[in-house]
């Protein structure tokens, strides 16, 4: 089981689940990080936080602390 925050740039993955309190979950789900969604890590900011990912045809910047709640399966 991997989490979104420790994927390297270029990695593609599928969202398996989203954890966290209701508010954070609503936010992440609302931005399109739902079960089954495909994500790709685009790059990290200079201090590795936030990270930029591609999801549902757009780019999303997300804090590592929030990305930690997204459980993914890496796609080869």
């Amino acid at each position: 089981m991997r989490r979104l925050h420790d994927l390297k740039p270029g990695t593609k993955a599928i969202v398996l689940d989203v954890e966290g309190n209701t508010t954070l979950k609503q936010k992440l789900l609302g931005m399109g990080l739902t079960k089954g969604a495909e994500v790709k890590v685009v790059r990290n900011a200079p201090l590795k936080d936030p990270m930029e990912i591609e999801v549902r045809g757009y780019n999303l910047s997300i804090r590592k602390d929030e990305a930690k709640n997204v459980i993914v399966e890496v796609r080869k």
Partner: protein, 230 residues
Amino acid sequence: MIRVALAGNPNVGKSVIFNALTGARQKVGNWPGVTVEKKEGICEHRGVKMLIVDLPGIYSLSATSIDEKIARDFILNERPDVVVDIVDASNIERNLYLTLQLIEMGANIVIALNKMDLARSKGYKIDVRKLSAELGVPVVPMVAIKGEGIDELKNTIIHASKTQRIPIIKYSDGIEKYIEFLESKVVENSILPEYPSRFVAIKLLELDEEILNRAGIGEEVVREWISSVS
């Protein structure tokens, strides 16, 4: 006068459409109590006057940010006659999330499907008629920056203001049985009767903090209801 609110994600061309609708007849102020800009303007078309209110650009209506709260409160409490949901056709998947939330809130919506030129250059082919039929709301394709679709949008707003449709977004059976049960509880206990009961039921299923607070119900009560559904 028809009261119209403009809603949409950030960067969808909302300001361009607001300016195209209202021209120079604008008033800029703040939303009460917060330093978020509120723009209002008048649009006159075929002898019909419309008061256009520009809502903050938002991705969802979960009320986690002040912008979302302003938009949500305005739509739920002020009940505008028509809500124009501006959708970026070149980024349609993410944009439609807000659309579904607006429909669920029982807003009388018209979709302004903007940036059609950009969507085309990205290779997207959008079946506007089918989109409209599936969602149960009018869809106006536009390239607002070139003025394309503005007149049709005005006509559609006026038409929509006279016809109240409440389309329902159906979920899978597994989710619908929970919504159905919670909706019966909402009606039975007259929870937030000023809002559409299905909307309240869906928000309870999400355990939405704002709605729980407003209704004055504890999360554990809703959890119990949810677990009683077999």
